[in-house]
């Protein structure tokens, strides 16, 4: 049970993550799942829920950090078209593995969150778009959904109320870009996953050109606690404008890599030292990738940065999906950057010129530098090709692809110079 005193909250989404058999409806119900749902369905109005969500200060946990309540309030009413709720479970950002745990260990929390969100938005059909590789998680979710249907938690007239919602799991086919919400919509519609330009935004014209809300797994899993305890309660957790708990997926040169849910505002050092068992080597990391591989690098000097959307932005990076990758002196930063460049070149959907051509070009230059065939001019070319790709495309993949390269060039130019100087014949 989550305490109603915000000061005592230690976990929201992961409150029951360690409970054995939590994925079964029986155990979930024992732990309090769906208990508050009838109150929401029978006594809450849509406006009230959206208003509570706004008050809660919850910001999207998928990466962009857009206020969830505000996103919901953009959905036009009475359009004559259905409104869709899509759960973005295409967790593909390198370094991120939080949604996976949520779905495999506590799927009912997500389902309950989706019913409540769906109810607030007047949704008849909701979908979970799950990353193709998550075979076991998809099975868990489907089993949980079957149980929920059998218990009348999904389907027609949920728990005897007048609200009906159907929930379907759709497996992706392994494309990173389908985690971008408009590419996800394209893919779910049966087309190649290529992002759409905006406007129109999905809230107005999304899935099959109907009003659509796309929320991350963690975001939706936070909804039941907010509705049960109130927006103010959630707002009191964390720091102003950065409310609530956040799951961080910590990986890299730490002793205990894993998912840790901490209040926003916890420092990076605390996350590493107090939760992730500390660094494998040394006392400070060489590079911190704070929000997934697409976010700009932070250095040792940022080790004490509070983990909030705003503080990380001030530090020159992003909270992103909360995937903290810790890199120490043992890592070859050029090899690492080259490997990331390969990932983005492979995952670029190909529609926008700068990303289609730029990502492959960057990878090839880095490959050449890494193999000792670099040229002095490559540094300038890398910078130009990365810089003019970022922010010039339909989606942010190019920005993500440029971030590690620009970070490498900005913070470790000497490493690149050195690699070029050590030319092999």
């Amino acid at each position: 049970m989550i305490p109603s005193d915000p000061k005592k909250v230690t976990a929201i989404c992961f409150a029951n993550i360690d409970v054995p058999k939590m994925h079964t409806l029986e155990m979930a119900r024992q732990q309090g799942a769906y208990q508050f749902l009838p109150t929401v369905l029978n006594t809450f109005s849509s406006e009230h829920i959206v208003s509570e969500m706004k008050i809660s200060g919850l910001r999207g946990r998928g990466g962009a950090g857009f206020p969830t309540g505000l996103k919901w309030s953009f959905v036009p009413k009475n359009t004559g078209k259905p409104t869709y709720l899509l759960c973005n479970a295409d967790e593909g950002e390198p370094g991120t593995f939080k949604d996976r745990d949520l779905m495999r260990f506590d799927p009912h929390l997500l389902i309950e969150g989706m019913i409540m969100a769906g109810f607030a938005l007047g949704v008849k059909d909701a979908y979970i778009y799950i990353r193709g590789e998550f075979i076991h998680e998809a099975k868990r979710l489907n089993d949980a959904i079957s149980e929920a249907y059998a218990a009348n938690l999904l389907g027609d007239n949920i728990l005897g109320s007048s609200y009906s919602m159907h929930l379907t799991v759709h497996r992706g086919a392994g494309a990173y870009i389908c985690g971008e919400e408009t590419a996800l919509i394209e893919s779910l519609e049966g087309r190649p996953g290529r992002p759409r330009f905006k406007p129109p935004f999905p809230a107005v014209e999304g899935f099959f050109r109907c009003p659509t809300v796309v929320n991350n797994v963690e975001t939706l899993a936070t909804v039941p606690a907010i509705l049960e305890h109130g927006g103010e309660w959630h707002k009191a957790i964390g720091t102003p404008n950065n409310a609530g708990m956040k799951i961080f997926s910590v990986s890299g040169n730490v002793k205990k890599a894993g998912n840790y849910e901490v209040p926003l505002g916890t420092t990076m050092r605390s996350l590493i030292e107090d939760y992730a068992g500390g660094l494998q080597n040394g006392s400070v990391p060489k590079v911190i990738i704070p929000g997934g591989s697409s976010t700009p690098w932070l250095l040792a000097e940022h080790y004490d940065v509070p983990l909030t959307y705003d503080d990380l932005a001030s530090a020159g990076s992003m909270l992103g999906s909360g995937a903290v990758i810790i890199i120490d002196e043992t890592a070859d930063l050029i090899a690492l950057t080259r490997r990331l460049a390969h990932f983005y070149a492979h995952e670029s959907c190909g529609q926008c010129t700068p990303c289609r051509e730029g990502t492959g070009w960057l990878e090839r230059i880095l490959t050449r530098i890494e193999s000792g065939q670099g040229k002095q001019e490559d540094i300038r070319t890398l910078e130009d090709a990365a810089k003019h790709m970022a922010g010039r495309t339909i989606c942010a993949l190019a920005d993500g692809a440029a971030a590690p390269i620009l970070s490498l060039l900005e913070h470790f130019p000497e490493l690149v110079e050195q690699a070029i100087a050590e030319k092999t014949s």
């Binding site: 330009f197 190909g350 529609q351 010129t353 289609r356 070009w361 090709a385 003019h388 790709m389």
Partner: protein, 776 residues
């Protein structure tokens, strides 16, 4: 309306306009590749980035709508670098083969590389190689040049409606591909090379033969169908290299028929020297031989509708002066000998048809007959506007029609009668309706589709060849006329009566010859009965085209043939004298399209051989006949033309698109007649690749026609349990025939579809047959 600032200039555009469109409307140059005004926005080339004050990143102007007070700048240091980089990205895999690329000289990539590129590429790695695609006879590919703008994919999806292009793979493995090789099935496929901004998709027939800057452009009017598109004929010396559309024309595309017919301009079928008794002779001898056959003789005149109005006016002058009562015919498909309730031609523009509340296609293979009107229809369908069709075949379309009713030609009377009955039941009346109804017995359910559409505020009827060639065409058209009047359309400015003509200049022909017009079969009949001595055939081929090849052959056994034309047809062997006239591409003149829109051709191709403009040949004949010559110059001829068609005096170069000739109307009551028919109705099919002397002489079109060909004789499988490949014995009024038949289920039961030539050409004019024996 939204007001914004572009480079500090205040600009007002419609709300929702994109920044790029706003710039284009204000003549501000923004470079782009993937944008095309006729296609959906893809926003993928990222060349059209602009700066907007207060925005952190430069947005793509093509997909960003304007907002009130927005401050856009299209020139800045940052944009210079962005464009330079966009060019560098685009060029890293692009081959440096401009010297051998057909697009060179009219290539956006080349132009922008000069304007915005850095001049030096820094890409040192391996280049991407993409295999070329086989896209059919008209499109050659060089896919390494592709910049993935997806214009071709969007064209295939949105315009052609064939959806046969697509994108494979991701990232820089992405490639444009077709579903299967040789798949391009669109009659608009020739536009693909035009919309490709680079040299990836190239015009197949003109591949590797010429550079754009070597060509002379001749502005002309296409006469390959009544649409009469503006065309630019591009030549080098004596050779015609290609035909291109003209930007800003009413229709943005050209069809393959009009575009690729040009190889016939310069092949051996052209008539370049006067010929008399199978020998090449001088003009003097040829004229003398003609006069010997014409002077004081009873002649019939058969002319093509596709001459310029000046040429047609000269024919009228010849007739008025020397052959006062000579019968004139110009439609090789007209069976009905009475004058129509209204003559051919549209009462609406294609835009009005696109915008109408309802459109009904009556018995027309519109996609082949008028591909660009079909394109308008497709735009309607995509915008969820209704289009219904009644006809004897579900002719291939590129759009899903709301209703598609199959009927036999003999059912037209009952369809129209049923529609009249239904609108009368709603209290809608027109004088003559009851009399028309009383002359009929049966009713057909398809009438409801017609009646329902006519009840809309605006309704376009596209009346096609199945009605125009009908024995009782005048009565059917009068019936439609009554319906439209009853439903309140006839009194409005655009009443929606669009009778698709056989060729160009329908309204001019009405003005010039309406009272004397006959069916071409009448002329052949007169010849057979000894009422004529000679036939003066001016530019058509009644043996190669039309419904009456048998009658033509019979008639020519009895009378002399003097043929005047630019090209020889199947009839030419029978001509006593052949006089070469300049083709449509080789004359300066006026043309009227089916909408009545006046077009003028200004800068003709150089005349080949000993050809003369038609009007000069007419004047020469008059002179040789001992008459005064009414006109010695084109200007003098135009005075006569203006006398015949006063509306044309209003035409000047500047406003030709604004002048429309209206089609004539005839409100005489024409009632349906009961005739006895055999069991099966015969319909002869039109093929855009095979009909007309020019198309038949074009090898390019013949090749494409082979790919689109259907069997010569087809029936519905339910019709007398027809089986594909079986031999059917047909009884007609002219005797018995045996043909191998094919079956298709998209044609109306009870109908025998034949192609006008091929094995069943001789029964083109047969209206109905009995079938016996079934299979052999």
């Amino acid at each position: 309306m939204t007001t914004l600032f572009i480079n500090e200039e205040e600009v007002t555009v419609a709300a929702g306009t994109s920044i790029l469109e706003a710039c284009r409307q204000s003549n501000v140059d923004v470079p782009y590749f993937c944008y095309h005004p006729e296609l959906s926005v893809a926003a993928n080339c990222r060349m059209c980035l602009v700066n907007v004050e207060g925005w952190p990143k430069p947005p793509a102007s093509c997909c960003t709508p304007v907002s009130e007070g927005m401050k856009v700048s299209t020139e800045s240091e940052a944009l210079v670098k962005d464009r330079e980089m966009a060019m560098e990205y685009l060029l890293i895999h692009h081959p440096l083969d401009c010297p051998v690329c057909d697009q060179g000289g009219e290539c956006k990539l080349q132009d922008y590389a000069m304007e915005h590129g850095s001049g030096k590429g820094r890409y040192l790695e391996e280049k991407r190689i993409i295999k070329d695609k086989q896209l059919g006879p008209f499109v050659t590919t060089s896919m390494t040049r592709c910049i993935h703008c997806t214009r071709c994919v969007r064209f295939a999806d949105e315009i052609a409606g064939t959806g046969d292009m697509g994108v494979l793979n991701r990232g820089d493995h992405m490639e444009i591909s077709s579903v299967v090789d040789e798949c391009l099935s669109s009659e608009l496929s020739g536009n693909l090379p035009d919309i490709c901004p680079v040299g990836a998709l190239l015009d197949g027939p003109s591949h590797d033969v010429s550079r754009p800057w070597e060509m002379t452009r001749h502005q002309s009017t296409c006469t390959q169908c009544p649409q009469g598109c503006d065309i630019s004929i591009e030549s080098r010396g004596q050779d015609v290299m290609r035909i291109q559309p003209i930007e800003g024309s009413p229709e943005p595309w050209l069809c393959d028929r009009g575009r690729f017919v040009y190889d016939a301009f310069r092949n051996e079928s052209r008539l370049l020297k006067p010929i008399s008794k199978q020998e090449k002779v001088s003009w003097n001898d040829a004229i003398n031989d003609s006069i010997a056959l014409l002077k004081d003789k009873r002649i019939g005149i058969i002319c093509s509708p596709d001459w310029s109005v000046e040429g047609l006016s000269a024919i009228r002058l010849l007739r008025d002066t020397a052959f006062k009562n000579a019968p004139v015919a110009f439609d090789l498909h007209r069976r009905d000998k009475r004058s129509f309730a209204f003559e051919e031609g549209f009462s609406q523009t294609t835009q009005q048809i696109e915008d109408a509340d309802q459109v009904v296609i009556l018995g027309s293979d519109l996609r082949q007959r008028l591909p660009l009107v079909m394109q308008r229809i497709r735009k309607r369908v995509l915008a969820d506007k209704p289009v219904v069709r009644i006809g004897s075949m579900r002719y291939r379309t590129n759009s899903e029609l709301q209703k598609d009713m199959l009927i036999r030609p003999r059912d037209w009377v009952s369809v129209i009668a049923s529609a009249i009955e239904q609108v009368m039941a709603l209290g809608k009346q027109a004088a003559g309706m009851q009399a028309w109804l009383d002359a009929t017995q049966d009713r057909h359910e398809a009438g409801k589709v017609l009646a329902d559409a006519l009840l809309a505020e605006t309704c376009s009827l596209l009346v096609g060849e199945e009605i125009r060639c009908h024995n009782d065409a005048a009565a059917l058209i009068h019936g439609l006329d009554l319906l439209m009047r009853g439903c309140g359309h006839a009194e409005a400015n655009n009443d929606g009566r669009n009778l698709i003509p056989e060729g160009m200049n329908a309204q001019a022909l009405t003005a010039l010859f309406a009272k004397d017009r006959m069916s071409v079969s009448d002329i052949f009949e007169d010849a057979n009965q000894g009422k004529l001595d000679a036939i003066l055939l001016i530019g058509s081929d009644p043996i190669g085209d039309g419904l009456f090849p048998v009658q033509a052959r019979e008639a020519l056994k009895k009378v002399a043939l003097i043929q005047i034309g630019a090209i020889q047809g199947e009839i030419s062997d029978q001509a006593s004298v052949l006089l070469p006239a300049s083709a449509y591409s080789e004359v300066e003149g006026t043309f009227i399209n089916m909408e009545g829109r006046v077009r003028t051709a200004h800068h003709p191709l150089e005349v080949l051989g000993d050809q003369r403009p038609l009007w000069k040949i007419m004047m020469r004949l008059l002179q040789a006949l001992g008459q005064d010559i009414p006109a010695v110059s084109l200007e003098e001829l135009r005075i006569h033309m203006h006398r015949f068609i006063p509306e044309l005096t209003k035409v000047d170069d500047k406003q030709q698109d604004a002048i429309f000739l209206s089609s004539a109307r005839n409100r005489k009551s024409i009632l349906p007649t009961q005739i006895t028919l055999r069991t099966l109705d015969v319909v002869s099919r039109y093929s855009m690749y095979r009909e007309g002397m020019w198309a038949r002489s074009s090898e390019l079109l013949r090749g494409a026609g082979e790919r689109q060909k259907l069997a010569d004789v087809i029936m519905h499988p339910d019709t007398l349990a027809a089986q594909a490949g079986s031999i059917a014995t047909l009884d007609t009024d002219h005797g018995q025939y045996q043909f191998k038949i094919d079956v298709r289920d998209d044609i109306s039961p009870g109908v025998l579809f034949i192609s006008k030539r091929g094995i069943a050409g001789d029964i083109s004019n047969v209206v109905s047959v009995d079938i016996n024996g079934g299979s052999a």
